[in-house]
Symmetry: C2
Subunit: 351 residues, 2 copies
Amino acid sequence: MVVSPEVSGDRKVTFRILAPKAETVTWSGGDIQGKRERNLKKGDDGVWSITLDPVEPGAYRYNFSVDGVSVIDPRSPAVSESNNNVWSVVVVPGSELMDERDVPHGAVAAVHYHSSVLGRARRMHVYTPPGYETNDTKYPVFYLLHGASDSDDSWTSVGRANFILDNLIAAGKAKPMIVVMPAGHTSAAGFGGGRPGSANEFEDEFMKDIRPYIEKNYRALADRQNRAIAGLSMGGAQTLNLALGHVADFGYVGVFSSGIFQRNLDDWESKHQAELDDKAKDGLKLFWLKTGKDDFLLQSTHNTVELLKKHGFQPVFDESAGGHTWLNWRQYLIEFAPQLFGGAAEKAAKN
Amino acid sequence: MVVSPEVSGDRKVTFRILAPKAETVTWSGGDIQGKRERNLKKGDDGVWSITLDPVEPGAYRYNFSVDGVSVIDPRSPAVSESNNNVWSVVVVPGSELMDERDVPHGAVAAVHYHSSVLGRARRMHVYTPPGYETNDTKYPVFYLLHGASDSDDSWTSVGRANFILDNLIAAGKAKPMIVVMPAGHTSAAGFGGGRPGSANEFEDEFMKDIRPYIEKNYRALADRQNRAIAGLSMGGAQTLNLALGHVADFGYVGVFSSGIFQRNLDDWESKHQAELDDKAKDGLKLFWLKTGKDDFLLQSTHNTVELLKKHGFQPVFDESAGGHTWLNWRQYLIEFAPQLFGGAAEKAAKN
C-alpha cells in the first residue's frame, strides 16, 4: 500500500503516487524551501516519489500533475479548498503555536447563510473559542479575510488559524475571540472584488450580510473596540477598503502582504479624500501592515503606508523575510492576534 | 475552460476531465441509476466526458480514474472525506428537504479534542440548530454515526444532514437538536471497531470522551429522553453495540442498513444475555431499523430484529427499495429525525 505523504521524525517529507503508465509526474504546491514545482522519480514498482530535506513546521498545499492532469494525493484525506479547485495538505509538526496540541480547543463551524446582496446561498467559517458554548459571555470579533487563491476554509485548512488561536489563548497571549472567515470571492469564479475605488460587492456583502449575521447570531460584542479586521493579499485590499470606508467601525486593522492595488495612487487619493480624512481614525488602536522582502506587493505596501501617514494615520509597518506565502501569513497571524482586544502584545506595547 | 460537473436544469449531469495523453478514463462513485462505474469518451480536444440522464436529487461522491490513477475532479472544489481518501461531490438540487434553501441555518463545527481512550487528537463534527448561538436553551442531542467508507464529515458533506435538519426544523417537522457526528474509525486506517462482542474501542471512546465532551462543552440536555443515537452500516453496528450495552442511556435508537454482524447469532446472544434482558429497555421510546431490499445486510437486519423481539424489545422495522447507498441513508435520516424528542412524527405516532 502506497503511503503518502510521509513525514519522518526529522521532518523529512516524502510524497508518493502510483502511476505506472505515466510519462511525467510533477509536484506543485506551496512554497517549500523556495520551490513550488518539483519532478518526481519513477520506481520499478510504478510508484513515483520524492523526499524533501527537513521541512519547516507548518502546513503545505500540494497536488501532483500526472501527464498534465492535476491530481490530489490519492492516499491522503487532508485537503484545502481553493477558489475553484482542491489541494492536498501535509501538516509538518514541530511548532508550539501551530501544532494541534492537547490544550482546550475552540470549534470551527461552516455557516451557511443567505446573502441578500448576492441573492444566493453563501458560506463562511466561524471559530468560537474554548468555553464559548457553555458560558454566556460576549466576545470580541476578528474578521479574517483570505487571498485570491483561497476560499473561506483556507485560513483553517492551511492557515492553521484555529490551532494558532487555541495555542495563543492557552498560553495567555491572546484574548478569547470569535474569528469570522467569510468567502471573499463574490463572483462565482475569479477575483471577486476587493479593489478600493471600484464597485465592491464584498464590501456591500460584509456590511449588509456578514457582519449583521454574526452580530445577530453570535454572542458578539458589537462596538468598535471589540471589532478587528485583517486579510492577506486580496483580503488585505478588501480590509483596506472596509477599514478606510468605515473607519469608525473598527478598532484594529491588519494588512498582510498587501496594499492599495491602484497604479495611480494620486488619482485614488483624490477620489477617497473624505475617507482618508475621516476624524474617526483617531479611535483606531492599531493599523498594522507586514509584507515580506521578496513579496511582489512590497511596493504597494510601502505606497499605502506612506499614504496613510500623510493623512494622519499611524500605521505600524514591518518587513519580514520571505515572499507571498502561507509561511508568512501564519506567522503574521501569530504576531497580530495578541495585539487585539487587550491581549498580551497590546498590553506590552502600552507599558 | 473545462466545466465539471455541470448540472442542467433538467438534472442531467455532465462530468469532464482534460487528459489528452490518457488511454482510458473511468468514473466511479456513489450509485447513480444503479451504476457505480462508467467509461468516459474522449473528445478531439482531449477532454473526456459523460452525460447522465436526469439524476435523482441528492449528493453523489465520484472520482475519475485516469490510466489507473485515482483523480478527484480538478475543476471542482466540492469534496467529501472518506476513511483514507477524498471524493469529489456533485449536488443535484430539486429536493425540498435536502436542498440548501433560504431557511434559518444551523452551523456545522469541526471540533478537535483530545481522546483519553486513544491517547491522541481526534475530530468530530457538531451541528448546532438555528438560534443555538444566541439563546440559553438546552437542547437534546442526537449522535449520528457514519459507515466504514466514511469519516466524521460524511454525514454533512454527502449526507446533507445539516440541510436536512435545517429544512425539517423550518417546516416544524423536527425539534431543534444538536447533532453530533463523531469519527468512528478508531484505528488510524481500516475498519475500526463496531463489532459487538469484540473489544470495542469506539464504545469506550464514545462513553469516556465523546459524550462527556458534548455534555460538558455544549448546552446539552443530559437525560435519556433527550439522547438519541443512530448510524449507518458500520455505524449501525456501533449503534447496536452502544444501545444494547448502555440501554438506560438512550431514548431513541436508529439502525440504518445494518444489524449485528456475527455469523453465529446464538453464540452472540448467549454472551450478551444480560444486556439483552436489561429491564431499562422499557424506557426506550423508539428502536427503529430500516434496510433496503437489495442491501447485502438485509438478512443481518432481519436476524437482529428477530433477536430484539425475542428479548422483549419493540423494534420498528421497515424495508425500503434500493441498496447500501447514500440515497437510502439520507432518506432514513429524513424519516428518523422527526420521530425524536417529541417531533412531528413522534406526536403523530401517539395519536
